[in-house]
């Protein structure tokens, strides 16, 4: 008999129903604290963008009211065209990232020994060791008229005239997006490939399935939720990171993030909120569609 047993309830007593002691209740609330924090300081402000976007603009701030002026301002101006354009180029960036990055995830999962896989993937976080502003800014001397790319190509005799379309254009923004976000398709692709067991490759070899059919019929359906999540991440950030068009873009290369920051600089806070609300709606719609098509909860399987 141990001390633990002797300090339990004495004698027979009516069935003691499970009761929560004060410390247990406290513990339960402590576990919910992060979620409460995120609800109050993240979910609530994001939801409030809709309310604030309907407020009246004043000289320096906003006042409660109900007006659709900010939305008019967005939808019936060049802003909408810019937004749609940036969507197109952001989608192009997603496609390029996928083509360049996803094969790396497949290769690491398939051909690198299990113990080394995570470390090879960790190589792709090294670029984040320097601030994004420097990484983006450093592209200017590389892409400009007499920059690294042009001089190299000219010296090699591949081109005669420098390519000026590389900077201060949509192309420049797309290059910046690819270089900024490529690691994320590698990460999400790597996580997604968790859903594709290694024996799949052997089965495919055994059945004589070629690489293309294997990719389309087996890998893509299994890894789709993870690929989708990575793609949405890149797409939305392509729309929302103002820094990229700000430093690499030129006339017309304006995305939602830049519209929002410009609105804030111009003290048009309701417009900034309208842009945020539109971005959140876009994001929600994408996630909802993705969830309906791919069942995004499958991404979580390796995490639970």
């Amino acid at each position: 008999m141990t001390a633990a047993a002797s300090e339990t309830v004495g004698g027979t007593r009516p069935a003691a129903r499970p009761r929560a002691s004060a410390s247990e209740a406290l513990g339960r609330w402590a576990f919910r604290l992060p979620l409460i924090f995120m609800l109050v300081f993240f979910a609530l402000p994001m939801a409030m963008t809709v309310v604030f976007s309907l407020f009246e603009r004043t000289m320096f701030w906003m006042e409660p009211g109900f007006t659709l002026f900010s939305y008019e301002n967005f939808f019936f101006s060049a802003r909408l065209t810019n937004f749609l354009e940036s969507m197109k180029y952001s989608a192009i960036a997603v496609a390029i990232c996928f083509v360049l990055g996803f094969p790396i995830a497949v290769f690491v999962r398939r051909s690198v020994p299990q113990v080394a896989q995570h470390r090879v993937i960790l190589l792709f976080i090294l670029p984040f060791m320097v601030s994004e502003i420097i990484r983006v800014f450093a592209l200017r001397p590389v892409l400009q008229r007499n920059g690294l790319v042009n001089t190299t190509l000219q010296n090699l005799g591949i081109i005669d005239e420098p390519i000026t379309a590389l900077l201060y254009t949509h192309t420049g923004v797309v290059i910046g997006e690819v270089l900024s976000f490529l690691p994320f398709i590698v990460f999400s692709g790597f996580l997604a490939m968790e859903a594709v067991p290694k024996y799949i490759f052997e089965v495919c070899d055994d059945l004589g399935v070629g690489p293309w059919r294997r990719f389309v019929d087996v890998i893509l359906p299994l890894a789709a939720p993870g690929i989708f999540a990575g793609s949405v991440f890149i797409f939305v950030n392509g729309l929302g990171v103002a820094l990229l068009p700000n430093i690499l873009g030129g006339a017309g290369a304006v995305n939602a993030g830049l519209i929002a920051t410009q609105a804030i600089t111009a003290l048009d806070f309701p417009l900034a909120m309208a842009v945020s609300a539109i971005m959140m709606a876009t994001l929600m719609a994408l996630l909802w569609i993705g969830h309906r098509v791919f069942d995004l909860t499958r991404i979580l399987t390796p995490l639970s």
Binding site: M1, T2, A3, A5, V9, R19
Partner: protein, 363 residues
């Protein structure tokens, strides 16, 4: 050997555990005496582990009571109960040495270091792992790891030890050796063992008593030999041993004896005090090793049945002869493999058994 006068070590009353719409255990009541080696046997997913974990405090019952030494413990967490547990695998602390693993419970209890070292040495001695005290768990074999778990449990001097499929991760030979070792250890320390397994051989080796649990129900419980020789329920007969189950219809009653029509034969069988009526569907069970195979007809009336020989399966020590009855049921007669003169497939044969070996089940 068992002290049945004191309060039972474990008493479970009307225990029910549900997970949302799924019922893992349904109104289970069982009483386990102090110093007993009790086995919870059953197919996987049947609820036996849930019962064990409820006794240990890892699951809170949805309804019902659990009494340990006569005290209600349903509201207590595992560390406040007089139980300790051995897990299937992965339960050793990988960042601690074997000695630290074994001494952990004592350290938590706040014992002085010298005393911990003494007790740990004793416990390791008991499971013959003394030379391995400074190893890490991953440097041990599967069997050694499970012995460390045993030592870690013994060292606490708790009087109820719960074992959750402790041998499932071991290979067949090691499992047999460890089974005997468990039995001997239990006899030596004299505390109550409650052991969960799906392996009937393991259960028969170690158990004083066995409870059969399936589909969330306690099917039946009793002495290990009784469960094997005289199962009460047809399910038990189907799960324990290698029984032939025959479906039949009651043709007549006379005193303690029942006539049952199976295939073309009318079999006579002990009523066992069961309530049966003429025309009722019943099940008969006959252990395969009690069934004899012969080619000549004209055997004991009521204790034999005719069929067609289909095949023999050589299993080394024994050979199983498979025979198809006229209603399509397959019966198995198991014999010591002494001769290699099995009948040709298609030969008409007769299966017979001694009076009293076939059992009647109604449910």
């Amino acid at each position: 050997m068992l002290d049945r006068t004191a309060a039972p070590a474990v008493e479970v009353r009307g225990l029910t555990k549900t997970y949302g719409p799924v019922t893992a255990l349904r109104d289970v009541s069982v009483s386990i005496a102090a110093g007993e080696y009790f086995v919870l046997l059953g197919p996987s997913g049947g609820g036996k582990t849930t019962l064990l974990r409820a006794i240990g405090g890892f699951h809170r019952p949805t309804a019902g009571e659990i009494l340990l030494h006569g005290k209600e413990v349903g509201h207590l967490p595992p560390d406040k109960r007089p139980t300790t547990m051995v897990f299937q695998a992965y339960a050793l602390f990988p960042h601690m040495s074997v000695a630290q693993n074994v001494g952990y419970g004592l350290k938590v209890a706040g014992l002085p270091k010298a005393q911990i070292a003494d007790k740990v040495a004793q416990a390791l001695e008991m499971v013959s792992l003394s030379p391995f005290a400074d190893r890490r768990p991953h440097e041990l074999s599967g069997g050694q790891q499970q012995r460390v778990q045993l030592a870690r449990a013994f060292v606490l001097d708790r009087d109820i030890l719960l074992l959750d499929e402790p041998l499932a991760a071991l290979d067949a030979q090691l499992r047999k050796d460890m089974c005997l070792e468990l039995k001997h250890l239990q006899e030596k320390v004299g505390i109550t063992f409650i052991h969960v397994t799906h392996n009937q051989e393991e259960a028969m080796t170690v158990a004083d008593r066995i409870a059969l649990i399936a589909n969330g129900d306690l099917v039946e419980y009793g002495g290990a030999r009784d469960i094997y020789r005289a199962p009460d329920k047809a399910f038990t007969a189907g799960f324990v041993g290698e029984n032939n189950l025959l479906a039949g219809r009651v043709a007549g009653l006379s005193g303690d004896s029942v006539a049952v029509d199976v295939a073309d034969a009318r079999l006579r069988i002990d009523r066992r005090g069961l309530r049966v009526a003429e025309g009722q569907e019943v099940t008969l069970s006959i252990r395969s090793e009690a069934v004899r195979l012969s080619r000549d007809t004209g055997h004991l009336e009521g204790q034999s049945i005719a069929g067609t020989y289909t095949e023999s399966v050589y299993l080394g020590l024994t050979t199983s002869h498979r025979v198809r009855l006229s209603d399509g049921t397959e019966m198995v007669a198991r014999e010591i493999s002494e001769r290699d003169d099995a009948p040709a497939p298609g030969t008409p044969v007769v299966l017979s058994w001694a009076p009293g070996t076939a059992r009647l089940h109604v449910e």
